[in-house]
């Protein structure tokens, strides 16, 4: 009896989780988290279009998606607006394709429009503020704090800025 019950459980499809990678530190932290969560979920990954390094660091396989990133430093306000809208449209399309149960991010800016749409569609939003933030909040963090169902900070002093955040150690 027990064995048939177990086999039934293992046949249950794993929960779909969409993981947002960024560049450098954001990817390192996110992939560390995926490693800790383990292969019990069905992962998809979203990363910036120009990001050359994130993909080959992925240890638990999943589908890959890319979105354009508005680089505000080099482009005019109008160009930034155009790229932001394009990014949002691409992310909405990815979201509707993947239909995840949860979205996981660690401070990359491309998580913002995705999480916003996700929230509207009933997806659970989980955000880990980057470990580079000890006392000061990032703009991404401030927005994600309003959108996320679960919001982690990786340094205790940052709870002054985000009182409802969870501190549960650091990924690095």
């Amino acid at each position: 009896m027990t064995s048939s019950l177990n086999s039934h459980n293992s046949e249950k499809r794993p929960m779909r989780v969409l993981v947002v990678l960024g560049e450098g530190g954001h990817t390192t932290q996110m992939l560390r988290l995926v490693q800790l969560l383990g292969p019990i979920y069905d992962y998809s990954y979203l990363m910036p279009k120009h990001d050359q390094t994130s993909e080959r660091k992925i240890a638990i396989a999943g589908r890959m998606y890319r979105a354009i990133v508005p680089r505000t430093k080099q482009s005019s306000p109008l160009e930034t607006l155009r790229l932001s809208l394009l990014c949002a449209v691409q992310e909405l399309r990815i979201l509707l394709g993947v239909r995840p149960k949860a979205i996981l991010s660690a401070g990359a800016g491309i998580a913002v429009p995705l999480s916003f749409f996700g929230r509207l569609l009933g997806v659970k939003i989980i955000h880990v503020e980057s470990a580079s933030r000890v006392r000061t909040s990032s703009l991404t963090g401030k927005i994600m704090y309003r959108i996320a169902h679960l919001f982690f900070v990786q340094w205790e002093p940052l709870k002054e800025k985000f009182p409802k955040a969870i501190y549960a150690g650091r990924l690095l």
Binding site: E23, G24, L33, L104, V134, H149, F152, R170, L172
Partner: protein
């Protein structure tokens, strides 16, 4: 050996300064210059390598750009490091973490490139504390949260 690394960034100010200092330093200097424009004339250098581990292992001290990834990697390796803040970023996002880690004595923080010559001179006798990451329960909290969704 002094190993200088900028990762995937470009940090010409750092590379140029190290190149200028190299002839007056007693140690051999190796610089990983990443996407920078400036090419050193007075020291060994390369752009990228499949792994920087052999260089870390050989180095007595690592001078690194202040990015989060490399900073924590060096702490995890227990390597004595000078973390050079790249103050050209508009948001100065490296300040917060480097200040916190330097206060705890885990690394040597170079907030201004002007301080680098004296830090390099004193680094051999400077003490750093081994970094121990606090236990991380983030994954468990998330697993608990997701399992309640059914």
């Amino acid at each position: 050996m002094i190993f200088v690394t900028v990762g995937t960034t470009d940090f010409d100010q750092l590379v140029e300064l190290v190149d200028r200092l190299a002839p007056s330093l007693l140690d051999r200097v190796v610089v990983q210059i990443g996407n920078g424009q400036y090419v050193p004339r007075n020291c060994e250098h390369f752009r990228f390598a499949p792994s920087l581990d052999p260089y870390y292992d050989e180095a007595d001290i690592v001078v690194a750009h202040g990015g989060l990834g490399i900073t924590m990697e060096l702490l995890a390796k227990g390597k004595k490091s000078i973390s050079v803040e790249n103050t050209t970023y508009a948001d100065h996002h490296q300040t917060d973490i480097l200040r916190a880690l330097a206060r705890e004595g885990y690394l040597i923080w170079c907030q201004d490139l002007g301080e680098l010559p004296s830090l390099l001179e004193h680094a051999p006798t400077m003490k750093v504390r081994p970094y121990v990451a606090p236990p991380c329960r983030i994954a468990e909290v998330i697993q608990g949260f997701l399992s309640r969704l059914g």
